[in-house]
């Protein structure tokens, strides 16, 4: 994948920032909650994003994309994160695209990548089942049937699942829950007989889906990659999505922090600006330092992905762990330092706290990645 130059990245950041200011302020999230509660995003807004080429950032030119790399995608998503912009961009243009790029057949890539890159289709990963990310515990079954397969089971939550016209389903084709082996990936049409879905009402207003599979019949061409051997590739797909979500979290925590320091510079109590109190100053400085660490870890993971480095899993776990820890910390301090106004529905602070929580848990939370990092370094 072509790595973007620092100038490219700056350009992308500027373009993203300008568009977000104009088209996707935090009020967009509030509007989506009112008007698109069952979808979790505004399809017209996603069409605009796709029209600017953003859904094709990771797609090679041969399939209608720009092949711009993870650092480019990260810079863009960072800007979207600043205003908590709801969209299926990460689910589709990172998650689904990565699955197809990593293990898709030529026919599967031809069929789907141009549509995902143009935004004509939305693809999503249907992975999680239980309350925690543990791929080895997956129980949704794929049983052989003729030359094809039948899916039975339940997926929740499926990020951006209500707007998807392509589900990439992780299923157990062999072995028992608890075993890492025996997993396969499938391409599934959500309109196929036996697939049923409804929206979850979520704190972050993103309306992930519950998707039920009841004797869903799939042809042999719908197997994505090798049967019974998806565990490794699943981690690769997830690492890509995790790194980009961490970039989104970076943008969100930076915005939450900037708004908080702005408040410290304007709010007066006891006849002085509260930002002049050393107790608050030192807490703000602590947050600034944590954000520097998160920024470095996120950029390091994205650069490692672009370079195809061997230590991608390690760097992604560091990035996701530091981003999760820091975004949650910043969001809590945002509310505390704003005082009562920060607790109100009218103020945006609560929106950042809610997203900090769901983004941390997506793709494995702080504890998950700390443990994964520990296994990688042998402790």
């Amino acid at each position: 994948m072509a790595a973007a130059t620092p100038e490219d990245l700056e350009m992308l950041g500027d373009a993203g920032r300008a568009w977000v200011r104009e088209r996707a302020p935090v009020s967009l999230l509030r509007r989506v909650r009112e008007q698109h509660g069952d979808l979790g995003y505004d399809p017209e807004i996603y069409a605009e994003m796709a029209a600017m080429g953003w859904a094709g950032m990771l797609v090679p030119e041969a399939y209608g994309g720009h092949d711009f790399g993870f650092q480019g995608m990260g810079r863009l998503v960072e800007e979207l994160g600043r205003t908590l912009t709801p969209s299926p961009l990460i689910a589709s243009a990172v998650g689904a695209v990565s699955a197809l790029l990593l293990v898709g057949s030529e026919a599967q890539k031809q069929q789907w990548l141009p549509r995902l890159a143009s935004g004509a289709s939305v693809g999503v990963l249907a992975l999680d089942e239980g309350p925690h990310q543990r791929a080895e515990d997956l129980a949704l079954t794929a049983s052989r049937s003729g030359d094809g397969w039948r899916l039975n089971g339940l997926k929740r939550p499926v990020e951006a699942g209500m707007g998807a016209d392509l589900l990439i389903v992780a299923a157990r084709s062999d072995g028992a829950p608890g075993e890492a082996r025996g997993l396969s990936l499938f391409l599934c049409d959500p309109a196929a007989p036996g697939v049923e879905r409804h929206a979850l009402s979520q704190i972050d207003s993103r309306a992930a889906a519950v998707v039920r599979f009841d004797q869903v019949a799939l042809g042999p061409g719908q197997l994505l990659g090798e049967a019974d051997a998806a565990q490794g590739v699943l981690e690769q797909i997830l690492d890509r999505a995790r790194a980009v979500v961490a970039a989104e979290m970076l943008g969100s925590m930076q915005e939450a922090f900037d708004r908080t320091t702005d408040y410290l510079k304007t709010r007066k109590q006891f006849g002085r600006l509260i930002g002049s109190f050393q107790a608050l100053q030192h807490r703000a400085v602590g947050l600034a330092a944590e954000i520097e660490l998160a920024r470095s870890a996120v950029y390091g993971a994205l650069a490692a992905l672009d370079a195809g480095a061997e230590d991608v899993p390690l760097r992604v776990s560091v990035a996701k762990a530091v981003a999760g820890r820091t975004f949650n910390h910043v969001a809590r301090e945002m509310i505390q330092m704003h005082g009562g106004i920060g607790m109100t529905e009218e103020h945006d602070a609560g929106l950042y706290l809610k997203r900090a929580h769901t983004a941390d848990i997506f793709g494995g939370n702080v504890a998950y990645h700390r443990d994964r990092f520990g296994k990688m370094i042998g402790v």
Partner: protein
């Protein structure tokens, strides 16, 4: 330009091959004189210091007339890469190179540059820093060491403290008070020859049983006025610049201890391959994740400086992160060692165990010296975040 760099690279490579004593392979330069090993005291080491010093490659970007080599940053990078490639190192180190030299380059007169910089470039003179006083720690500008105008020279009286290596240094850069009516505006930056009558240094013993810190007594010390760096009563601005160089050096502290391997040895793994103490494991991993992100932050800062990118991570933030990471490493290391961390001396403890304990104790000063953690936070709040004074 690229061709020029390539030519230079091969020139450096040949020169290192011809001049670097193989006996010094893999050695680190001697920055702390109390940590000298046999190899640091060998004739080969001195020969290497002289050879690099003569080329001006210890301070490659300084102008040649002041003992440097007048190289561009890109050429200096090539030089560093070639040292590293040959498992060699730059032996020109210490406070002179790190702090005083860049400050003299910025504030010194032509005569001062010609007098003081070449000996630093050749590692001939060891410098120490006379800033803190018993009554002026975090509030450095309240320093009281008196400096009186006696016509052609200054007469200096006072006491300094925490002066690293004062007892074995040749010169001291010192902050003194030339005007008692103004605080910051009454401070002057002077350079003092440690052989001057009235200069006395006494080492201070710290909680780890040793230290390179000293008390420095200045009694009727006469110093030529030509050793004033910057304007009279303008020393505070000079000191602030110099302290930035200090923070650059302090935050660059590197991990030398592999905690993961220490934990495997002293705590052990369970059947699942995890550390047997789950509580310790969680805290250890939290630290190692932070340490990893800190390493990437230092690398990001370096890359941004090379590119001239705006807003690299602030030094006042990095200094605190660096000391926190180092102190956490020490705290975890003694916890990992268990009762093997009780050792003060003797054969019953391994060299590694004793080293871990003494480093842990000494490390408590990281968040105090060079501007305490709290002072760094004040600097960040005002200068980086722009938070108000009142």
């Amino acid at each position: 330009m690229i061709g020029d760099l390539d030519t230079f690279r091969f020139e450096v490579r040949d020169w290192i091959e011809a001049n670097f004593p193989p006996s010094l392979c893999g050695l680190a330069p001697l920055t702390n004189p109390t940590e000298a090993t046999e190899r640091h005291e060998s004739p080969d080491y001195h020969q290497w210091v002289d050879a690099v010093g003569a080329k001006g490659w210890g301070v490659p970007t300084w102008p040649a007339e002041y003992g440097g080599a007048g190289l561009s940053a890109a050429h200096a990078d090539v030089l560093a890469q070639e040292f590293s490639r040959a498992d060699a190192f730059n032996p020109i180190a210490g406070l002179g190179v790190m702090m005083l030299g860049p400050t003299v380059l910025e504030f010194g007169t032509e005569e001062q540059k010609r007098r003081h910089l070449p000996p630093i470039a050749r590692n001939r003179i060891r410098w120490c820093q006379g800033f803190s006083e018993p009554g002026a720690g975090s509030d450095l500008a309240s320093l009281q060491t008196r400096c009186e105008d006696r016509g052609d020279h200054w007469l200096i009286n006072g006491q300094k403290i925490w002066t690293s290596f004062a007892h074995i240094s040749d010169w001291c850069f010192c902050l003194v008070r030339t005007d008692t009516t103004r605080k910051q505006g009454g401070i002057t930056f002077v350079l003092i020859d440690m052989r001057t009558p009235g200069v006395e240094a006494r080492p201070i013993k710290l909680i780890n049983g040793a230290s390179h810190f000293c008390e420095l007594f200045l009694t009727d010390v006469e110093t030529p006025k030509s050793e004033t760096l910057g304007e009279v009563n303008g020393g505070w601005a000079v000191a602030k610049r110099l302290l930035q160089h200090e923070r650059t050096g302090l935050s660059a502290r590197k991990a030398t201890l592999d905690l993961a391997s220490l934990a495997r040895d002293y705590v052990g793994l369970d059947a699942g391959g995890r550390l047997r103490d789950g509580d310790l494991r969680q805290r250890l991993l939290d630290h190692l994740v932070t340490d990893h992100a800190f390493g990437q932050t230092m690398a990001r800062r370096t890359a941004m400086l090379e590119l001239g990118a705006p807003n690299p991570p602030a030094l006042s933030i990095l200094k605190n992160l660096g000391s926190r990471v180092s102190q956490d490493r020490g705290d975890l290391a003694v916890e990992i060692l268990g009762n093997r961390s009780f050792g003060w001396a003797g054969e019953d403890y391994s060299e590694l165990e004793l080293g871990v304990v003494h480093d842990w104790l000494y490390g408590k000063c990281f968040s105090i010296y060079g501007g305490s953690q709290e002072i760094q936070n004040n600097i960040t709040a005002k200068q980086v975040l722009g938070l108000p004074d009142q």
